[in-house]
Symmetry: C2
Subunit: 131 residues, 2 copies
DNA sequence: ACAACTGTACTAAGCACACTAATACAGTAG
DNA sequence: CTACTGTATTAGTGTGCTTAGTACAGTTGT
């Protein structure tokens, strides 16, 4: 069963965003491995009863981010080689998320240890290696 | 000098959001302490050359979040007692931010140690206590 | 009591942008 | 040639942000 996505049209988060997030997760968690083909723009659109453009947009952004790759006339495939980012670029991209997390944590009066512990748990959930 | 805010109308982030973020920071960092009065809706609007409604919206949301409190006819003041949240509520509110951070970190191929180190640094920047 | 300040609430309008849809164009494979 | 693939352009629709105007209610000092 290739890529079982579920989208809710009633949600406030746009459809294309839901697709991006779900596909990202599927790839990160290894349920789709490099080289695997994704459903075609039209077939996925038909299955989810949404417009092909919406799928195309999601695929397009994922391609921009290096998660998947497109081959004209063939389809979309999970990227074989991960994008190589500079250290500066990676930090710059992570910074706002880190800022948001800590800012909210401070407002909620979390202790540093609480936040650290929660992070460790989440890191384990994603299977990130220590180093 | 009470609350020097700077907003950029050219930014993609809406004005009311910029206000919220800046005031949150000012309060968190102790530049305004509990009981301190904020500029009136109209005066701040005039100073920043924006509509009073926009300021009112920012203040309103900050009040909803328990950062500041309103007193009819008197003004807005930094909240004297922080909102008390249940443990479940606090975790529920932090969860999506944590999810976003770790998900992005995984995609960027950060190691767990990298993320943890970055977090520690940010926590220190915000002056959060260990426990 | 009055004036001048505070917050609060509501409606309406304009504007920009995000989202989605429809359609047409271009490459690939059998 | 046909039927699939991705790609690009255009257009319609909605929604969020901001502004403006108006009105009402509470507080303070004169």
């Amino acid at each position: 069963m290739p890529l079982d996505c579920r989208i809710s049209t009633g949600s406030t988060t746009p459809i294309y965003r839901q697709l991006i997030d779900q596909i990202r997760l599927v790839v990160l968690r290894g349920r789709l491995t490099p080289g695997d083909r994704l459903p075609s723009v039209r077939s996925l659109a038909q299955r989810l009863v949404i417009n092909p453009n919406t799928v195309a947009r999601a695929y397009g952004e994922l391609a921009r981010d290096g998660v998947i790759e497109s081959q004209q006339g063939k389809g979309y495939f999970v990227a074989t080689k991960r994008q190589v980012y500079t250290r500066a670029h990676r930090r710059r991209r992570l910074a706002p998320l880190l800022e948001a997390l800590v800012s909210e944590a401070a407002l909620l009066d979390f202790s540093a240890d609480d936040v650290t512990a929660a992070l460790q748990e989440k890191l384990r959930e994603y299977g990130l290696e220590p180093s």
